[in-house]
Symmetry: C2
């Protein structure tokens, strides 16, 4: 592949569209200029649509950072010290979220799924009945396992058993690819990042908050953070959305502009949000079928818990990841290794979000499948 | 100015060079790919040069965020709860740094300078003798007043009176324009951001740590942050600098690449770092002289405390900021208002960092002066 660009198919950062790439290349703007205010305003309004919110009292928030910062925002704003939090864990990222919550003084119980599966509803219901949890966290798609949790159904359960519990969703690997109905499901905070299905360069923490979450952050008795403080950021976001200049810390001007471009591609392309999700599902299903058709086994235990933005697949017997992934890389496709603690060296991951999943004319996933198959054959694997 | 690009001359974000703009526009890369590791490695090595460090045990750190995040990094890693911190305040940003330190449990004493001046050395010496401060913070250039503190001399003083005290420098508005001698001065943490004199789009917290600071962060008895945790980030930075893949939170790939380009322009252009500082000083002196030659008064009380990266200047009697700045903006130059609490509506600020200060052929500052003068005349001002 010398001289050519490698085909990037990891579960984020993802390939960005040409329009987004150009939007990332604008010259600097003053963060309080009319030009930038108009950009940020459009972003904050469009995020309401992306999250399917119909309550004007909800608020989007975009801060220079990464998905991880959303965990700190949760832990330092929405969980008061010594409050009980229930973490549903479907892998590495759920567990790291739990670690972050503990740092800020949350009393965390983790309900862990079997690797490749989700936490069973009855276990969640049972646990919610045991303690009065102030917050529950759901990792919508754990990027380590490619397992998707049914956020809609879990939220229904929470509303039934423990309606006071704030529902926080880690949507880093789901926003833009899996359906999220913020208002219908009664969510309180969905945290995400720019570099996955939202289709923007890395560098932004993107979130969406309910009025209930906002109130809780505003009434927090002690402040535990400065940079991640919602008390600081909410008035800023509100001002930008109203078209007014505002300052707490300098936003990532160019990346916010790239986010505007991507949201416009997602929302205003004549292709509805639901068609976008459907197209991702179609691409994902086809790709997964291709892999299983040559005898490979997926990490998620069934189709229902299989995420649409990425695929996690076991190395077949006799094939070592240390041989396979470098070979695939040499042939021009960049994939990711495994990071689940129990399965670490046993599987690998392919991302299919954004242009690679949506634009069939690119042929990205077909190429990836061809090269995976070819490389397996090179290594002596026969299905 | 319809159809044309406005001339951005605020004290950050600044105009970036064409090469940096292109570097910001690269397609996404995997954060653990050899390509990106090579980019990040070069950045971390070059930052040693920018900070004039000769101790390999020092460590640069680059995290998606902003300058403000550097305050949280200080407060949540280098100051243990209930430790005494001395903040030297030369304006709004120093005071905000103090506020951040308190959030994380630092016991903060603020020594405030008169507006437009620095804190006198004898007061600093006196205060250092009163208490055993674990950390002192110096805002090298407070962007609110354009006042530069003599970090070299203050550090000497600290070494003499209280050698155990960690020296933390807010270099957001100084790194890349004012001389910083990390090793010679015995500094412990200099925090900065990408969008000022480093000449990169906003979106990065950039810092440099001494071994003493690193030890203190590593030995911290309680963790107070996750996203800003040096315990988490230091091994990552170390790995990247060694050319090894590493992950804690996704770096801002494109902006790190822009940083690489800018550092190469700064360090490898045949123009030494000291000549860069000298050129900034020359541009600054000429611009300030132009302003005072038409009877304007600068906020810094004398030349010695005047920063080279920006100018803060009072509106002349009879001229309102609400009239002047919009008029200048209409004529195509973007300047900034005042933000010092005592002087808020009395002055305005012009940034002159990076290409605008260095590349005479652009004529940015001459144009700005011409338009300021013209606009003042339009408003009836006669020197």
């Amino acid at each position: 592949m010398s001289g050519e660009e490698n085909l990037l198919l990891i579960p984020g950062p993802i390939i960005v569209s040409e329009r987004v790439r150009q939007a990332q290349a604008i010259q600097s703007l003053a963060h309080t200029s009319p030009e930038f205010i108009a950009i940020f305003q459009k972003v904050l309004i469009d995020l309401r649509k992306l999250f399917k919110s119909d309550d004007p009292k909800d608020q989007a928030i975009v801060v220079a950072g990464s998905g991880t910062l959303g965990w700190d925002i949760t832990a330092s704003n929405l969980v008061y010290p010594d409050e009980d939090v229930l973490v549903l864990s479907t892998g590495f990222f759920s567990d790291s979220f739990a670690e972050c919550l503990k740092v800020y003084g949350g009393k965390v119980d983790v309900l862990s799924a079997e690797p490749g599966d989700v936490v069973p509803f009855d276990k969640i219901e049972q646990q919610l009945s045991k303690k009065s949890y102030k917050v529950i966290t759901i990792t919508h798609v754990d990027t380590s396992t490619a397992v998707v949790s049914d956020v809609g159904k879990i939220s229904q359960l929470v509303k039934k058993v423990s309606p006071e519990t704030l529902i926080v969703v880690d949507g880093v690997c789901s926003v833009g690819v899996e359906d999220i109905q913020f208002s219908n499901w009664g969510l309180d905070y969905v945290l995400s990042a720019s570099q996955k299905a939202i289709g923007v360069p890395s560098g932004l923490s993107i979130g969406f908050l309910s009025q209930r979450a906002i109130k809780k952050a505003e009434n927090r008795p002690v402040q535990s953070t400065f940079f991640a403080s919602l008390k600081k950021w909410l008035p800023i976001m509100n001002n930008y959305e109203q078209g007014k200049p505002s300052y707490f810390a300098t936003p990532a001007i160019q990346t916010v502009n790239a986010l505007k471009a991507s949201l416009e591609e997602i929302l205003d392309s004549g292709f509805s949000l639901d068609s976008r999700f459907a197209k991702h599902a179609e691409t994902s299903t086809k790709f997964k079928k291709n892999l299983t058709s040559i005898g490979l086994k997926l990490v998620p235990v069934n189709e229902q818990v299989s995420a649409n933005g990425l695929t996690a697949v076991y190395f077949p017997p006799g094939v070592k990841g240390g041989d396979l992934l470098p070979l695939i890389y040499k042939k021009g496709v960049v994939l990711a290794g495994g990071i689940h603690k129990d399965l670490k060296d046993k599987y690998f991951r392919i991302g299919h979000m954004g242009v690679s999943a949506i634009d069939d004319s690119r042929g990205d996933l077909d190429k990836a499948f061809k090269i995976i198959k070819e490389s397996l054959t090179d290594l002596g694997y026969a299905p």
